[in-house]
Symmetry: C2
Subunit: 147 residues, 2 copies
Amino acid sequence: MTEEHLQKAEQLLEQSRLRKTRPRLEILCVLLAADSPLTGEQIFDRITPASVDKATVYRTLLLLLRHDIVHHAYLRNRIRHFELAHHCKPDHCHPHFTCRDCGRTVCLYQAVVPAVQNLPAGYLVLHRQTRLEGICPNCRTEGFGDE
Amino acid sequence: MTEEHLQKAEQLLEQSRLRKTRPRLEILCVLLAADSPLTGEQIFDRITPASVDKATVYRTLLLLLRHDIVHHAYLRNRIRHFELAHHCKPDHCHPHFTCRDCGRTVCLYQAVVPAVQNLPAGYLVLHRQTRLEGICPNCRTEGFGDE
DNA sequence: CTCTTTTTGCAAATGATTTGCAAGAAGAAT
DNA sequence: ATTCTTCTTGCAAATCATTTGCAAAAAGAG
């Protein structure tokens, strides 16, 4: 929990006029330090041990979700993953790539998702989400070792 | 459970060399008759009452998933939705549209999803999934009534 | 510093999905 | 058709992520 993250966390709460409490700051700092979406459990584990209850973690994530400070996605299984909404445009999130080999998920911030073509008339799209599945660069090169 | 669906269901099981059992046929018929992805619970409810155990429904769906006869997606909440893989190409499913108003999800079979642009080098994409959220034509026109 | 309103911790509840296990079908072999 | 072996099912109980009730504790206003 660096000083820089802490300040950013406070700023995020201020912007939404939310009280600055210990659990909220802890959770935001964890998310600020993360480089991929995390589950509630993972967030709980990364918080200063036992300083925040798990129920509070989930409750807080729901709050942050309502204030659009974090976004969530179901990446692989039925477990929800959370990440800061930083890199998301109002109408769509960056795509998520999940590796079938190592199971890791990465956010592809720089990738561009073109609009869906040939949409039937009458649908108003407010939000888009793209999930990619495959083999990550890491796992692809690893195979070469023993062939 | 029409005769036509029953035949199609048997055919699907044959193709994967799976035993034709009562629960499997029932479940496939439900999915063949559905026009949108269904949850395990919904499938259970639509089956001839009490003829199949709920655990069997889930177990069977997992089996069909492994044989690529059905696909699944998390559409709104943590609940899994299942549908026949019929309309899916090997590398991607049709997009799903979920209405924020009525909550219904529809499959947009005719929509075209362009490939993601500017993907970082080294990623091998095997599967794509697109989720759209917004207002459906039905809910959009409904608003005009009382304004 | 007091007071009012939110939040939190703790424990227990939920609810979708899984799993263990013995009884019951499917399909192959006889 | 009957037997046999293997795969499936039903039932009940277990999981596990997530929620919820409630009284105690903290935040921020006055």
